[in-house]
C-alpha cells in the first residue's frame, strides 16, 4: 500500500474533523498524521492527512460527500513543500551537551529549553529530515517526543485558495422539483 498525502479545505464548523476522520476509520485505515489549522480565509481550515490507502480516489470522492468539505486534493505525486515540526525532550547530562548542541547545529534545529538534566529541542523541516534528526539523536535518550504531523503545500501557482470556494458559493444550488 502506498502512502498518500491528502490536502483538504473544510469549513470550520464543530464536528468536521470527526466527520473526516470517521470516513477514513470506516474502512479501517490508520491515519499516520493529521494536521489542521486555519487557512488564509476566515471560517475555512486546511487539513493535511497522511495515510496508507489502496483506492485513494474513492475515498477522496466520499470526502466530497461531507457537506463541510470544500476541496480535496491528493498531492502525493505533486511537487510540494512539506514540513513537520517535532519537539523532543532529551536526557542531556552536562557531559553530553556539547555533542547534542553540535548535532542540533548541523540539522538547523533549535534548543528551546535547558534543564538540570534535560534539553528540549525544536526541529522543523521536511518529514525526512526530521526523521533523520530523530534517528541521530535517539541514542542520547529521548524522554518525550511530539510531532505535529506534516503539512504540505503545492509549489508554484497551482493549488487552491480557500477564497475561491467560499466566494463561488453564491446563495445555493438550484432545487430541481420532482415531477411525479
Amino acid at each position: 500500500m502506498k502512502k498518500h498525502t491528502i490536502v483538504a479545505l473544510v469549513q470550520d464548523r464543530p464536528g468536521v474533523l470527526s466527520r473526516v476522520v470517521g470516513l477514513i476509520r470506516r474502512r479501517g485505515f490508520n491515519i499516520e498524521s493529521l494536521a489542521v489549522g486555519h487557512s488564509e480565509t476566515p471560517g475555512v481550515s486546511r487539513m493535511t492527512i497522511v495515510v496508507e490507502w489502496e483506492d485513494v480516489e474513492q475515498v477522496v470522492k466520499q470526502l466530497y460527500r461531507l457537506i463541510e468539505v470544500l476541496k480535496v486534493s491528493d498531492v502525493t505525486n505533486d511537487p510540494t513543500v512539506e514540513r513537520e515540526m517535532a519537539l523532543m525532550k532529551l536526557h542531556a547530562p552536562p557531559a553530553k551537551r556539547p555533542e547534542i548542541v553540535a548535532l542540533t547545529e548541523v540539522f538547523d534545529a533549535k534548543i528551546v529549553d535547558v534543564g538540570a538534566n534535560t534539553m528540549v529541542i525544536e526541529m522543523t523541516g521536511s518529514p525526512a529530515k526530521v526523521q533523520n534528526f530523530i534517528d541521530v539523536i535517539r541514542p542520547y535518550g529521548i524522554r518525550e517526543m511530539m510531532r505535529t504531523g506534516r503539512i504540505a503545500m503545492v509549489r508554484g501557482a497551482r493549488g487552491h485558495t480557500a477564497e475561491e470556494y467560499v466566494e463561488s458559493a453564491n446563495g445555493h444550488a438550484e432545487r430541481v422539483p420532482v415531477a411525479n
Binding site: 473544510v10 469549513q11 464543530p14 464536528g15 470527526s18 466527520r19 470517521g22 470516513l23 470506516r26 480516489e57 474513492q58 470522492k61 466520499q62 466530497y64 460527500r65 461531507l66 457537506i67 463541510e68 468539505v69 470544500l70 470556494y165 467560499v166 463561488s168 458559493a169 446563495g171 445555493h172 444550488a173 438550484e174 432545487r175 430541481v176 420532482v178 415531477a179 411525479n180
Partner: protein, 581 residues
C-alpha cells in the same frame, strides 16, 4: 414576523414553512418543550404517536418513499434517539429524505452523563447525510432550513437535528431572513453535454445494449423520460429492486429484475451485453454479484447524481453526474433527429431482444413459478398467495405494496406485476427486517385513497408489530397485511439449506397466532392454511372497512429461485434445490 417565539415554536414554524404536514414520533423528557409547542400548531402539523421510535423512523421513510416529500420523525434524548438509529441507517442506504428531530439534555449538562443523555450526533455521523447539535435557539431557523435543504436535494438522505432542551425553551425573535451558506454542497443536476454526446455515440454503435433503471429514475421523477428514451432507442430495460415501477413490466421492452434473485435471462443478458446504460442505480453487490466478473463485455455509461457512486463498484466508460430526469431529457434533446441514425441500432436491438426472449422462454419464465410441479403436494405454496394477490391488485388498482426483508420480499419483487413508480416500497440497501409495517403506516397516511398491502415474513413482522396499535389509534383503515408465515427466518434457512448442509442454526421460529394477535389490536385477523382459502381471504380483506391481517401459513421450506450465491458471478445461477426430498 418579529414576534417572540420559543425555540420549540420556531421548530414548528420552520417545519410548516418547509411544507411539512405530518410527523411521526414519541415524546420524552428532553423533547417535551417541542411537544408543548406542537399543540398550538396541531391544525397544520399532524403528529402521529408511534409505539417505538424505530417505527416512527420507518413511518417517516414510508411517507417519503410514497410521495418524494420529506418524512419527519421525532424522538427524545438517549434511548428515544438511539431507537431511531436503525431507521436512519436504512434511509441513508436507500437515499430517503427524512428529518430526524431529537431532544437533547440541557446544554449545561451536556457531556456530564445526564439522565437520558446520548451523543446522538456522534452516533449518527456515519449514517446521516448531515447532522446538527443545536444549543442556541437563535440557530434554529437557519439549521432547520439548511437541514431540510440538504435532506431533500441532490442525492436525498437522512438529516438529524439534535436540539438541547434549553434551546427549545429559550425565547427569541427568530430571524427568518435565511441565506444558506453551503460552499461545500452544490449538487450537480445538469449533465455535461459532451459526456451525453459521447454516450450517445456509444449507444448508437451498440449491438447488444441494455438499460438498467434504478431508484434514481423514480426519485427524480424520470419515468416518462425513461420510457421515451427506451422507445426511441428500443433498448431492453432492466429494473433493479428499487427501480421496480420505473418502467412498466408489461411494456414490450421490459425484461425484469437482475441480480441475486433476478431472472436468468436478465443476468445472462447483462453478461452478454456490449453497452450497459445504468440510469440512477448504484451497482449494488446484490445486483452485480462478484463485481470483477460483472458485464465483462460491456462499456458502461453510468448516470448518478452522486459522484462517489461512479466507478465505486464497476468500471465506467462514460460517467455522467446528473439528476436522472435532466440527464434523460438531455439525451432526448441530443439524439440525432433523423430515423436513419437509429436504423442500425433498432436492427441490432430487435435481434438482441429476440435472443433475450428466447433465453427467457428457456430458463424458467415467471409463469412457471406459479405452477411448478414440486408445489403440487403442498397445501399452501407461497407462490399461490402471490398469484392471488397479483390478481387482486391488478383488478382493483390503486395500491401500494410495502415489503419487508427476506424470501417474501424477493417473491414480491419477482412475482407481482409492477407498473407504476412508488407502488413498490421496500428496504433494499440496509435490508431492515421490521421495516414494512411501520413504513406502511407512513404510506397509508400519504396515500389515503390507496390500499396499502404489507407483505412481510413472520420474523420481520414480530420486530415491529406494535405499530398495529398506532394504525388503529390514527383511524387508518387502508392497511392490509399478508404475513408469509413459514415458521423460519426463511432466507437464512434457505442459505443454510443450500450452502450449510441444512444446519438450521437459529432459524426455526415460533410466532404467536397472528390472527389472534391482530384481533387483540382491534384488527381483523384471518388465518389461511390452504390454497383454496386464499382468494376468499383477500376478498374479505378488501371488503373489511379497517385494517386486516392475513396469516398465510405457507409451506415451510420453499426457496427463492433463481439465486446467485453470494460473491459468485451472476453467470452462476442456482435454479433449484440440490436437496430434493
Amino acid at each position: 414576523m418579529s414576534e417572540k417565539r420559543t425555540g420549540a415554536q420556531v421548530m414548528c414554524e420552520a417545519l410548516i414553512r418547509n411544507g411539512v404536514e405530518v410527523m411521526f414520533g414519541i415524546p420524552g423528557g428532553a423533547i417535551m418543550p417541542f411537544y408543548y409547542a406542537m399543540w398550538d400548531y396541531r391544525d397544520k402539523l399532524r403528529h402521529v404517536l408511534c409505539r417505538h421510535e424505530q417505527g416512527a423512523g420507518h413511518a417517516a421513510e414510508g411517507y417519503a418513499r410514497a410521495t418524494g416529500r420529506l418524512g419527519v420523525c421525532i424522538g427524545t434524548s438517549g434511548p428515544g434517539a438511539t431507537n431511531l438509529v436503525t431507521a436512519i441507517a436504512d434511509a441513508m442506504m436507500d437515499s430517503t429524505p427524512i428529518l430526524a428531530i431529537t431532544g437533547q439534555v440541557a446544554s449545561h449538562v451536556l457531556g456530564k452523563d445526564a439522565f437520558q443523555e446520548t451523543d446522538i450526533t456522534g452516533i449518527t455521523m456515519p449514517i446521516t447525510k448531515h447532522n446538527y447539535l443545536v444549543k442556541r435557539a437563535e440557530d434554529l431557523p437557519y439549521v432547520f432550513e439548511e437541514a431540510i435543504y440538504i435532506a431533500t436535494t441532490g442525492r436525498p438522505g437522512p438529516v438529524l437535528i439534535d436540539v438541547t432542551k434549553d434551546a427549545q425553551q429559550a425565547t427569541i425573535v427568530p430571524d427568518w431572513n435565511i441565506k444558506l451558506d453551503l460552499p461545500g454542497y452544490k449538487p450537480n443536476y445538469r449533465p455535461n453535454l459532451k459526456q451525453v454526446r459521447e454516450a450517445i455515440k456509444l449507444i448508437l454503435s451498440a449491438k447488444k445494449p441494455l438499460i438498467i433503471a434504478g431508484h434514481g429514475v423514480i426519485m427524480s421523477g424520470a419515468v416518462e423520460e425513461l420510457r421515451a428514451f427506451a422507445e426511441r432507442t428500443r433498448i431492453p430495460v432492466i429494473t433493479t429492486l428499487h427501480g421496480i415501477g420505473a418502467f412498466p413490466e408489461d411494456h414490450p421492452l421490459s425484461i425484469g429484475m437482475p441480480g441475486m434473485h433476478g431472472w436468468v435471462h436478465v443476468n445472462r443478458a447483462i453478461q452478454e451485453c456490449d453497452v450497459l446504460f445504468n440510469i440512477g442505480g448504484r451497482f449494488d453487490d446484490r445486483v452485480t454479484g462478484k463485481a470483477s466478473t460483472f458485464a465483462p463485455n460491456a462499456k458502461v455509461i453510468h448516470v448518478d447524481i452522486d459522484p462517489s457512486e461512479i466507478g465505486k463498484n464497476v468500471k465506467v466508460t462514460v460517467p455522467i453526474v446528473a439528476d436522472a430526469r435532466l440527464a434523460l431529457q438531455a439525451f432526448l434533446n441530443e439524439f440525432p433527429p433523423d430515423r436513419e441514425a437509429f436504423a442500425e441500432l433498432h436492427g441490432h436491438a430487435s435481434d438482441w431482444m429476440e435472443h433475450i426472449r428466447e433465453m427467457q422462454a428457456k430458463h424458467q419464465p415467471k409463469q412457471q413459478y406459479f405452477n411448478r410441479a414440486d408445489t403440487e403436494n403442498m397445501s399452501l405454496p407461497p407462490h399461490d398467495v402471490y398469484a392471488a394477490l397479483t390478481k387482486a391488485l391488478n383488478s382493483r388498482g390503486n395500491y401500494r405494496v410495502v415489503t419487508d426483508v427476506g424470501q417474501h420480499q424477493m417473491w414480491a419483487a419477482q412475482l407481482i406485476d409492477w407498473y407504476r413508480p412508488r407502488t413498490h416500497i421496500t428496504s433494499g440497501g440496509a435490508g431492515t427486517m421490521g421495516f414494512a409495517l411501520p413504513a406502511a403506516l407512513g404510506v397509508a397516511i400519504a396515500c389515503p385513497n390507496d390500499t396499502v398491502w404489507v407483505i412481510c415474513g413472520d420474523g420481520g413482522f414480530q420486530m415491529t408489530n406494535q405499530e398495529m396499535a398506532t394504525i388503529v389509534q390514527e383511524g387508518i383503515k387502508n392497511v392490509k397485511v399478508a404475513v408469509i408465515n413459514n415458521g423460519y427466518l426463511g432466507m437464512v434457512r434457505q442459505w443454510q439449506e443450500l450452502f450449510e448442509n441444512k444446519r438450521y442454526s437459529g432459524t426455526p421460529l415460533s410466532g404467536p397466532d397472528f390472527a389472534k394477535l391482530a384481533e387483540a389490536y382491534y384488527w381483523k385477523g384471518i388465518t389461511v392454511e390452504h390454497t383454496s382459502q386464499v382468494e376468499a381471504a383477500i376478498e374479505e380483506a378488501y371488503a373489511t372497512d379497517g385494517p386486516v391481517l392475513i396469516d398465510f401459513r405457507v409451506e415451510r421450506e420453499v426457496n427463492v429461485f433463481p439465486m446467485v450465491p453470494q460473491n459468485k458471478s451472476i453467470s452462476e445461477m442456482i435454479l433449484e434445490s440440490p436437496h430434493k426430498s
